[in-house]
Subunit: 204 residues, 2 copies
């Protein structure tokens, strides 16, 4: 998680109470319906303290998820450059996270989402609000099409993480990053930018 350096860590018990209340609120009500005010009330603190400890609602959500990254920062960076190589840059950035020290948190998050309905709900909200929205904006996607395109991208990336970092199928698990970027980059590029004939018939 990108933690703002200027922000005070605060009392650990209070922080944890706020994060627990936030997890419950985001899972129960969804990101948009969950309010900082209600989360603060559930944790027995003033809303200003929540902002003081965690910043914006997005930042609180990333902290509550123990997310190793802030997709709202990462995604616009990936879009910066040759538009035909967005897919390759996205795969490279994604594998870079898993291969970094943050990869441990990513494994824990995916494990928890799979074994626990409650974490799955949080991860679903995370994908919809923290990944889908910046991606729709960066790629200038049609919102109706994006509801299929972004989960397609997510499916390929999540599956890549599963087979390489969790199930660890060799020699795939130790193949060089460049080989996977070359193989999977065009898939991601196609899901984001190609016409995908037949995929949107049910929307018309």
């Amino acid at each position: 998680m990108a933690r703002r350096t200027g922000r005070r860590p605060g009392n650990p018990d209070t922080r944890e109470a706020i994060l627990a209340a936030a997890r419950e609120a985001f899972a129960e009500r969804g990101f948009d319906q969950a309010s900082i005010r209600a989360i603060a009330a559930a944790a027995g603190v003033d809303p200003a303290l929540v902002h003081h400890y965690f910043g914006t609602k997005d930042q609180l959500f990333l902290a509550a998820m123990n997310s190793p990254i802030d997709p709202g920062e990462l995604i616009p960076r990936v879009w910066n450059g040759d538009p035909d190589a967005v897919g390759e840059r996205l795969v490279g950035a994604f594998l870079g996270i898993w291969d970094s020290p943050a990869g441990t948190a990513a494994v824990a998050l995916l494990r928890s989402a799979v074994s626990n309905d409650w974490t799955a709900r949080l991860l679903r909200e995370f994908m919809l609000t923290q990944v889908m929205r910046p991606m729709v904006k960066a790629a200038e996607l049609d919102p109706a099409e994006a509801a299929l395109r972004v989960p397609l991208v997510a499916s390929q990336l999540v599956g890549l993480a599963m087979v390489r970092y969790i199930i660890k199928v060799e020699p795939f698990a130790s193949a060089p990053t460049g080989a996977l970027v070359a193989a999977v980059g065009p898939t991601i590029q196609r899901y984001l930018t190609d016409e995908l004939p037949g995929a949107f018939d049910h929307l018309r």
Copy 2:
């Protein structure tokens, strides 16, 4: 699992003892090194009884994994037809399993593989011996390339199952099967049959 109708169910305790010994042997030693003889000895039964209850070593493995399908049967069937539509048929068959009553067992298997290193080892052996081998044979793949191509296919299919059936991102989770076949079929086709420039450089 495809259970042979002619086979006797046998004593439930004996069956479970054989399955437990099989799981341990397949996870510890791998499919090829695990012998029916050693599994029978660990379960305290005669090897002939293992064959009598479960059939071949492949069939014992499928039973031990509680696998909802036998890929050795499914894969050759999928290859039967227009070679340019193998990708679409494979995605259709895969989604068909998850949407059938067998989908519950598939969800349980994936959940268990993610939360449990031991099940992950079994699933890895399963992919290598039960999925990779029939796929290499059916698609007539170069074995060195297959070690990348088949896990690429697996990554897309496993990720599809994760996003659609476990994390359940809407409206993706309830999109018609045909939309996903149209979108993902060409990805699978490309992983199996296209050149994938740059993906095999490390093998040369």
